[in-house]
Symmetry: C2
Subunit: 246 residues, 2 copies
């Protein structure tokens, strides 16, 4: 057993070693600090960091953070939910969540939210990485690869159900923190989040659709990406998007 595994979030944000696994984590557990559900390499304190941090570091208060936002969902989920019974539906979702978490956690992203058949992931907070855009894109690509297996499995079981995953990625300044008072929620807010969600909605099945600003960071990895111009709901101007080959 390792003596200590340190919270990557607290290290990145505060340069403070918070032990989340191993024998040395016992005193932290007594104060309720444990691995987060959003990413087991960060601690539950990180889920409230911005507010909590802001009392120490005033300048960070309510400031947007540069981050990459990834949305993924299961296309045709409403159709599937009518064809599958509830245990099978729960099994499908559970599988999807596991696939998402493994590829996102491996690249230091966090699962910001699970919303039925959709996942919102954030990269560069609280674990900071210079190459967060690239990490997010490769998470998306790996997710598509993993989900091909799920797809194959379900198509075999009931032939008429065809499912697939859609991924949308955008980058920019995002407000990350607790919203609300009595009823509060750790979430990411802003135009960047909305555009990422719209990109996911505009993606075809098994596609990773990224914005132009994201593509600039990965164009060497995906020189043959197809670009197209999309009109997205609620977004004023048409947007140039790139579909990355999986």
């Amino acid at each position: 057993m390792k003596l200590s595994i340190i919270c990557k979030g607290c290290m990145a944000q505060l340069h403070m070693p918070v032990v989340i696994r191993g024998i040395l984590s016992i005193p932290f557990r007594l104060f309720g600090v444990k691995p987060s559900r959003m990413n087991p390499n960060i601690c539950t304190m990180c889920e409230e960091t911005p507010k909590w941090l802001s009392s120490f570091v005033e300048k960070r208060k309510n400031k947007p953070i540069p981050a990459t936002v990834l949305f993924a969902d299961i296309r045709g989920y409403t159709d599937i939910s009518q064809a599958l019974d509830q245990p099978n539906l729960a099994y499908l979702l559970s599988n999807f969540y596991e696939s998402c978490s493994s590829v996102i956690w491996e690249r230091d992203g966090i699962i910001g939210k699970l919303i039925g058949d959709a996942v919102l992931a954030i990269f560069n907070f609280p674990i900071t990485r210079q190459d967060h855009v690239k990490q997010a894109v490769w998470s998306g690509i790996e997710l598509q690869k993993k989900c091909k297996e799920i797809k194959a499995r379900f198509t075999k079981q009931e032939e008429e159900i065809s499912i697939g995953v859609r991924v949308g990625i955008h980058k920019g300044d995002v407000f990350i923190g607790d919203i609300g008072q009595a009823c509060r929620d750790f979430t990411a807010v802003g135009e960047v989040v909305n555009l990422a969600a719209r990109l996911q909605g505009a993606a075809k099945t098994c596609e990773v659709l990224v914005s132009e600003s994201v593509y600039q960071f990965v164009k060497d990895d995906f020189p043959k990406a197809q670009s197209r111009v999309c009109t997205l709901k609620g977004i004023k101007d048409p947007v140039t998007v790139y579909a990355l080959e999986v």
Copy 2:
């Protein structure tokens, strides 16, 4: 100070008094049991009840529960997010969450999820009520009344932004519990949840749109409700819906 406020969820599900506020809650706090964010009248144990309960009461395992599901969102949120800066956007959301939670908690519902500009609420779990359908509907009506104030306030501040809330409600058997393993989430799953979400999507601004099965329970309260037939995305057959006057 009251000696003890008891978790309504544990009382309803297990007939077990779990103290969540007051002096007698101290021993429970030591074990990490505290008021839930989903509804401060239930405890954090309730958030994992079905799985946890199932080890005691085998027959409940993975069984769907009769419940009413309410979705609410802010129409035009993507537009607003481009016009407002992030602190104002956070303020708007925070206000919306507070409005939702106050009307939902008052009627023994729980906030299942906060999803950006949308809220998923569940009635009849873990606090059981015979009249859960009625309670959900009246929550929706009260939410619309509350949000008229928000609307008025924001329209004044920047004249071109008009916002409004949409509510969709459906009832039926729902799977409620933790989905996933390493990456898990307390959520409600099933056709009923999807249809409620689609009803919300089909609602006009400031409208409470309910399914026929919900309307049967409240037709005496809303004798003048307008019905219409909607084709909803992902739902095979057209659905008869009722728009309740606020």
